[in-house]
Amino acid sequence: MASLSINNVTKSFGSTEVLKGININIDSGEFLVLVGPSGCGKSTLLNLIAGLETITSGEILIGDRVVNEISPKDRDIAMVFQNYALYPNMSIRKNISFGLETRKVPRKEIEETVNRVATLLQIGELLDRKPAQLSGGQRQRVAMGRAIARNPEVFLFDEPLSNLDAKLRVEMRTEIKHLHQRINTTIVYVTHDQIEAMTMADRIAIMKDGIVQQFDTPQQVYDNPSNMFVAGFIGSPSMNFIECSVKTEGNQSAVELNTGTETPQQLVIPPEVCQLEAYREKSVILGVRPEKIAHGFPDQDANPSIHALQCKVSVIEPTGPDTLVIVMINEKAVTCRVQPAEASQPGEEMTLMIDLSKAIFFDPDSGRRIA
């Protein structure tokens, strides 16, 4: 087990800069998830940590050792690849023991390790098969077993679940989390699936275009996204972004919402939610999560941040526990999460309560959060 520090790391391939100054620090035993859209540099960063690519500038420390110049095999890390990368010509047993043999571990110890890992991951009966004879989930398990057998300081996972079907993906997600709780090794896990990121991580680094947009705990990332990209990327369905103009109500700021069914409403934004003085008579982007626009809230009478809006339903999407109701606010489709029994039919009007106490505001030009 070791901590991991990535300090000001950049990486260029020729003249294209793929990573532009990455700073991430995690403690020993933490589960870090790197998440971001395709091509944002997640795998590249993972390869830099593994030592499979060379760093252009900056520093990576595993424990308190700078590993920039250390070759992959001496970094004491193990990696699980997206396509598992099991050695097709070797039995599962050999796949697991290959790394140990290369490191000249005594035969008896190898045997013990293979058996321990096989028990841990329940792959005992597969040991004498070849990778081609296994199902996707079993291969996934073997790939993890191979990594665990080496007992590394840090585990690296590159989209390990993306080749599995949806059900198996959820199962393996839980299994990896269990595994982490048992062996408690530092993990860096790459995915482009934000649900995986939220459910597994101790800390999430959200990347875009080679820059870490935000590095925080899942709850913080969800509640306090630092910009519109993060806000839109994390959470499903996505946060609603409503462009609205800021008015003055008394001496407070208010945003104007128009549902098209009544006269536009001016909703006061208390200063503890957001300081909008600088934006008066300009426009801002209001960010509200779907679950904050609902049929009703238990404390709606006492809470001054909750307002009623008369809306016309354009589409409904039942998900089972909730029904997503899509309405138009300021000429923008807005998703609301409503109890199935309360949802009106498309074309009908319904009263929705909007809770602005956790609303977030963004600058329309830069996309950055307004404090």
Binding site: A85, N89, R146
Partner: protein, 274 residues
């Protein structure tokens, strides 16, 4: 149940059968002439099947060609093994250990394939003389190995491109180095590549004549040269060179018969499944 044969098919098959006959005529001619006695061979009956079979042609031919046959076997097997092994190592480097300039070097390698081999005959002769290996089999083996490297490297590079890079990375993290990865992971997956490359090389080297005659002394001549000399005299007993031709042609045919299906498969399919 009878399957209907459409007129198109009928024409196609007729054409194909016609082509087969055209291709097989020389083979037929060679075989029947080889089986005749010298005095039975004349233009009038040249198409006829022999009345009495003369198996002796083959032993006669073997008496003359035996040493050449041995030379060719040694030459072809050694040069094929060496050039495919080197090609495999090159392909491994060009596909999995790319370095600055490796693409350029690979392109230069490919140039080697397009150099007509007659053109390098004289320089080759001088090089072998300078190395003091002109005239014997080792010199000819060296020439064939070097000349074969571009094509075998190309075959293996393309073949290894199908091996996921993750396998190599994974083995690197497992602590394996360049040769251990080659021996334990890449080589065991290479069978289809070796089949394709070695059939190609075997055929090329076995059938080669010009270098054989120019670069070796009489005692080291390969079978193609020996055969030419057998047919080169004035009043030829045609049964003997025909028997010799069959002997010279058979190994390549046998290689295709036994490995041909792997050859086609190796050319066509992505042979590696994870």
């Amino acid at each position: 149940m009878k399957t209907q044969i459409s007129p198109g098919r009928l024409i196609l098959y007729s054409l194909l059968i016609l082509m087969v006959i055209v291709y097989l005529i020389p083979v037929y001619m060679t075989i029947i002439t080889a089986l005749k006695f010298p005095e039975d061979i004349n233009l009038l009956t040249s198409w006829d099947f022999p009345d009495r079979i003369n198996w002796g042609s083959f032993s006669q031919a073997y008496d003359k060609l035996g040493p050449n046959l041995t030379n060719s076997i040694i030459l072809t097997i050694t040069a094929t093994i060496l050039s495919t092994l080197l090609g495999s190592l090159n392909g491994y480097v060009f596909s999995k250990w790319k370095f600055r300039g490796s693409e350029t070097i690979f392109t230069l390698f490919l140039f080697g394939m397009f150099i007509p081999y007659q053109i390098i005959l004289i320089p080759l002769f001088q090089v072998l003389r300078a190395l003091n290996i002109y005239g014997g089999l080792p010199g000819l083996i060296l020439a064939h190995v070097v000349y074969g490297i571009p094509i075998t490297s190309l075959i293996f590079r393309n073949f290894y491109a199908q091996i996921p890079t993750g396998l190599i990375k994974s083995a690197q993290l497992d602590g394996a180095g360049f040769f251990r990865i080659y021996c334990r992971i890449v080589f065991p997956l290479s069978a289809p590549g070796f089949v394709v490359a070695s059939i190609w090389q075997f055929t090329q080297i076995w059938n080669e004549f010009l270098w054989g005659i120019c670069l070796t002394r009489h005692t080291s001549n390969p079978i193609t040269v020996g055969l030419a000399q057998l047919a080169g005299g004035q009043a030829v007993n045609w049964n003997m060179p025909m028997a010799g031709s069959i002997m010279a042609g058979l190994p390549v045919v046998l290689v295709y018969i036994f490995l041909g299906k792997y050859f086609i498969r190796g050319l066509l399919e992505g042979a590696i499944k994870e």
